[in-house]
Symmetry: C2
Subunit: 769 residues, 2 copies
């Protein structure tokens, strides 16, 4: 934990003071991105201390050869990884021939700010170099939302105590390696290094995947904020780098600056032979607008995002900062413009976890994007899976021995192929298939857009239902269908039998697919014929499905009147987390794996995840009983755990607990709860934070095409507000300790239900409840 | 399978004809060893085809940095590996300047023979080189049993169709890499390359472990079998190699030869600074005796081994060849001279499986060594574990969180440290601890030597009992102690609860330790005090142990009246192996791991392993019921499976089945059942083959200090015989279809029980039953 490091502020993330051992953590926290590219908050200038250099381009990945201790049949040969991309931000700066290097000079007034409202990152400091010269540095950087192949840097230097010769050495570098490469292989080959007077281009291509990328920069020098038309005195061109040198004599107190524009054009968006031309276009555009106009447009673009997605919290700056940080990072990672992309668990902030897409997208992220963006964004995320259906079928057939179009979606993926290799997860954490089906249901429930199902969704539902039908086996001992050998959402159990959550969602998937087949049959007969002839599905197979769904086994304890997380859960030594010695926490760092497995401790919601998805299937008493049974054994060592628990605590009216869980989810990275923020941020769980306010405190649900709310507010807050884009109408909800106000700016009234009572929210009319 | 490749022969392994794709398999099958070193049957001369070069020195290992896909707490940092050692056998041979290279010349009359009776390996062939010269080669090699740092080669060349200049280029090479290195690291550093006129020495040292080894050779040239006093015309010395060149003009039909002596002296047996002096001593000894005398002594030494350990089978050459191959390889691998050594699963024939010691030693090998060697050999094997007790305690405490002297022996080890890294095995296949305790019981039962227990064994038993006591947990649901999250002997199940075998042996270990404590207390009070003060064990702890042992849970099916392999075994789809499509076998090559895990298929005896160890605890009807229940689900994909099943089939009088299992175990490698013999031989399962004759067909048991027999004979055999060293008396048992004869050459009578009837076998007096 790192509770007092980030300065509390409503709109900015602020660090004051330089601590070398925090550099990597801050590189993660101050990361910037624009959906198409992103980067850790590495220093532009040389830094000889401990750093994790990271730049990433959305959708550009590399299949790293799998590394395992002991090979198991079915493992994928390759593990597609987020790829550390060429560096275009570098600007070495020499003062009278000495490099500015924060690892070797005296530093004063070091400050970083990530301004979330306006979408820029700034760093200022004074440094006294070994040569005795004190300089002031002020550097601002952003990645344009409007022109998403473009980033901009303004790097200002002011000598404080004497005149000085300032040399700016902006460079490009394509000699990049991934920190997490399995075999220390190179992922990039550099094809061509070119330059004009003030601009440079490097063409590089990923090995194997053959993504071509042009990395580029254009530089201009300013003296006292005025363009100085300084030409490079030297151009240094090497195999994988190119560097310009600009020299300026700065008088004491005079500010000299370099503005550097840069970015990537990628073969996924342009013809390969046009990448450099496209790059020049981008630079021309940027140049024409200039740094200050670009920055102004950036503020406007972010204002638009905030207009829709902001959540305000009054009376609790840390909580406010936390939720905005989460919303900001989600928007930096994924904006829904490109259906080939998805939401990586670390976004553009690190390499860990390899691929970009987990079940997190469907289980946690889609509700956020549905409610804060146009519904096409969520639909894009659904289509991503539809587009990968063939690979999910291939995976199930070729690697795992399923047949007849059964689909198992990968645990982790970039392009639809599995890129995880731990048998207990890769082969057994199959519940992920359930979340993918659930997201289709959830999308229709929220948006009312049924058209997705006959067009695309139904094929996904059929592939998934087939998988569950084949994966279940009949136990003559139990006279029921069982699902043996799985890992549930609680990854602190492996290879268990009859994980309740998995069995429940498996049954639900079959039932739901069955119902949708019936509906499409009667209402979309053309689509029905097309799909049925494609997937070759007949009545007898459907009956077999139903037999499995209707006779699914669910482990249950009569004594406790709860469903059991899995068979034999009650054989464990049921010592509550509260009774566990604190020295043993977190257990994933303190205990060997076998000890974790045989313990009752739960990493994240498992049975309770089912109660979250299928709330309507159970009474509040059942929820309470299960919450009281399982939460005391839950260690919340997954970033995805506190949000679901916060929502359920709120539903149960346990506001103190809900608030504690909320803080933990919203400030997980800012306060570095798990001591790992240096590896990158937990992007996908940030959507869970949004849910814990909107669905937890706000109690928002959609039932029968109507928004329902049961607003609750923690004692610590004066008020909070959020907006929901419900079927193209924007509803604003403001909750205070006394009352809740609903308003909207649209043209037709919205009916909402508040604590079960229907009210009508008219346009431009405040309703107070 | 490779059923007709090795020529059936009572005493030799013979290969006729050269097939390039069999070179690696034959390199394994024709391996030679003398307990101190061993080597694959690589060609002496250059071979540019596919080959797996392997030389190994007993006890010389390297801790390879662990490689895993996903790190789990508790994994060892290093994986100690059998180390591929310097090559001293190499002799390149040039005929008129052209290398003999079987990959590039025409080959006729290629033949190999591994003469098991006399302990040598011979290879003959005619080759027509590209230069048109036909030569005959005859090369014989052996590793001396008497001087176990010495090996000898005689390599004869006869030009057939013309005179020829023959150049012999014997060399040493320390630039060796392991084929299975995790990170392609070098394991050896070469320190010094030295030579005299006809001899050479390379000092090399393993990195990290710092084993120093002198590798050496001495060469002499013969013409027409007479020493020719030819001096090298060239000595080529490089960083890690040294090579001599001897040139001889051979007339057509004239045989020229090189005799090369070589081997290793190792810092485990000599002071480092004396390694070369020791090497010179060895060479002097060898030189004085000469190749022919060394070979004569070799035959005598093997005759002595066979005198005691031979098993004859009449009327079935393949069965005879099989059992002798097994006995021969066991003796090549381990002779019991050095208590620091143990029996590696691949002996000196390959690198796979890393370390040298598995539970195979206790469960399978000790009975063979007890009955065919002096009892000190088995005692040495027990002491090996005693000497590693501290490390077993350390492993349990530091890696796995146990306390108070609980010991978990490693799954695989070289020096007592765990060197396996697959959580489901490393952390969970804990039944290995049981076999180690059982071997102590078994040793005493067979030898009557109780002294080992108060001296050393009891401390091991206490460490193991403590482990089981702590590892079991109380299930209030079952009101019994349970053992959760284990892998039983059947490695096709992982992380199961209440594996019957594990629970049973755990309870037995505690009970047995408890009894031995009582016995030592009353009969060896000095040892008792010494041990108790060392291990700090008191009554209350003992009572806690007993509580666990007395209330252990055993999964059981009333319906089938069998113990269940583990909880919920009956939930599986119980389709018998016989009903499985043949295309699906072997399942470990055809199925993904999850599919194997949720199937009912059993890799090797699991519940039945318990019935084998604890035969007396159960009735024959119980055995039959369990055999009939489990064998149909057993795929025998472990080399350790058929032998136990052969024994039990024999006990049940199912001789056809017993015979089939016997053939499979005894010819596993010769007929390459599992298509993997190129990786090396299955050494430890070879002891199981011995058991399947002696304990299976012979029905040998020790009960109340008396040897019991229930001889049975397969229809396919005319007769078989074996000897048993029972408490320093050598009993010979000869079984034919009609009768069984017992005889002995000692001085006092031996009482044996045959089918429950006691008979007295007088010295030099044949008893026929």
């Amino acid at each position: 934990m790192n509770q007092d490091y980030i300065v509390p502020n409503n709109w900015s993330i602020i660090e004051e003071g330089f601590e070398a051992e925090r550099v990597k953590s801050s590189e993660s926290l101050f990361s910037i991105g624009n959906g198409a590219m992103g980067q850790r908050a590495n220093f532009e200038e040389k830094y000889s201390g401990d750093t994790f250099q990271g730049s990433y381009i959305a959708g550009v990945y590399y299949p790293d050869k799998t590394k395992v201790g002991w090979w198991k049949n079915g493992y994928p040969q390759y593990f597609a990884k987020v790829l550390n991309a060429p560096n275009w931000i570098g600007i070495n700066v020499e003062i009278n021939g000495e490099n500015i290097d924060l690892a070797s000079c005296e530093i004063k007034k070091f400050r970083r700010e990530l301004n979330m409202k306006e979408g820029w990152y700034n760093r200022t400091f004074n440094a006294i170099l070994k040569n005795g010269i004190e300089i002031k540095v002020n550097t601002t950087r952003f990645l344009s939302l409007d022109i998403d192949e473009l980033g901009a840097i303004k790097y200002e230097v002011t000598p404080i105590n004497s005149d000085a010769k300032v040399a700016f050495k902006p460079y490009l570098d394509t000699g990049i390696e991934n920190e997490d490469t399995n075999w220390e292989e190179k992922f990039w080959e550099t094809l061509e290094v070119k330059h004009d007077e003030n601009s440079a281009f490097i063409m590089a291509r990923t090995l194997k995947t053959k993504f071509s990328v042009a990395t580029y920069m254009q530089n201009s020098i300013l003296v006292n904020t005025i363009s100085a038309n300084v030409k490079p005195v030297e151009v240094q061109k090497e195999a994988t780098t190119i560097s310009f040198t600009y020299e300026i004599a700065a008088s004491k107190g005079q500010t000299v600056a370099i503005e550097k524009l840069g970015g990537y054009t990628v073969s996924t968006n342009h013809k390969e032979e046009e990448l450099i031309r496209a790059a020049k276009n981008v630079l021309d555009q940027g140049n024409k607008l200039g740094f200050d106009t670009l920055l102004k447009q950036q503020k406007e673009a972010w204002a638009k995002i905030w207009e829709m997605s902001d959540i305000t919290i009054e009376g609790d700056v840390k909580a406010q900062q936390g939720i905005r940080f989460n919303i900001f990072q989600l928007n930096q990672t994924y904006l829904g413009k490109d259906s080939r992309l998805n939401i990586g668990p670390k976004g553009f902030t690190g390499e860990k976890y390899g691929g970009s897409t987990y079940w997190d997208t469907e289980a946690y992220c889609i509700p956020f994007y549905m409610a804060t963006k146009d519904q096409n964004v969520a639909r894009s995320l659904l289509e991503y899976r539809y587009n990968q259906l063939d690979k999910a079928i291939e995976n199930a057939e070729n690697n795992l021995g399923f047949k007849n179009g059964a689909a198992l979606y990968p645990m982790v993926t970039m392009n639809g192929e599995e890129c995880h290799n731990e048998w207990e997860i890769t082969f057994e954490e199959i519940h992920r298939n359930g979340a993918i089906a659930f997201a289709i249901f959830n999308y229709y429930r929220f948006t009312g857009d049924y058209s997705y199902i006959p067009k695309k969704g139904l094929e996904v539902l059929i592939g998934i239902a087939r998988f569950w039908h084949q994966r279940a086996t009949f136990s003559s001992d139990k006279d029921k269908y069982v699902i043996l050998g799985v890992t549930g959402p609680n990854e602190y159990e492996n290879n268990v039998n009859n994980n309740w959550y998995t069995n429940y969602i498996a049954k639900w998937c079959i039932d739901y697919a069955y119902e949708q087949i019936e509906k499409v049959k009667s209402e979309y007969s053309n689509d029905y014929s097309r799909i049925m002839s494609k997937v070759n599905l007949d009545e007898p197979e459907l009956n077999e499905w139903k037999k499995v769904a209707d006779n699914m086994y669910f482990p249950y304890s009569e004594k406790h009147d709860v469903f059991l997380q899995q068979d034999n859960f009650l054989d464990k030594e049921l010592i509550k987390v509260a009774d566990l010695d604190k020295s043993q926490r977190p257990i994933n760092q303190k205990w060997s794996w076998d000890r974790i497995l045989r313990s009752p401790y739960i990493k994240q919601a498992d049975t309770l995840q089912g109660f979250y998805f299928f709330e309507d299937h159970f009474t509040k008493e059942q929820l309470e009983r299960h919450f009281d049974f399982y939460e005391p054994f839950t260690v919340h060592e997954s970033s995805l755990s506190p949000c679901v628990h916060s929502i359920q605590a709120a539903v149960l009216g346990r506001m103190e607990q809900a608030y504690t869980f909320y803080l933990r989810t919203s400030r997980l990275d800012l306060d570095d709860y798990n001591k790992e923020v240096h590896e990158g941020l937990h992007i996908t769980s940030m959507a869970g934070t949004w849910m814990s306010i909107v669905e937890g405190f706000g109690g928002m649900r959609v039932k029968n095409d109507i928004l329902h709310f049961e607003p609750r507010i923690p004692n610590q807050w004066e008020g909070y507000s959020f907006k929901i884009n419900f079927r193209n109408q924007i509803l604003k909800v403001e909750v205070s300790q006394k009352e809740t106000k609903f308003s909207q700016e649209g043209t037709t009234a919205i009916k909402v239900s508040v604590f079960g009572k229907e009210i009508l929210v008219e346009p431009n009319h405040l309703v107070t409840v």
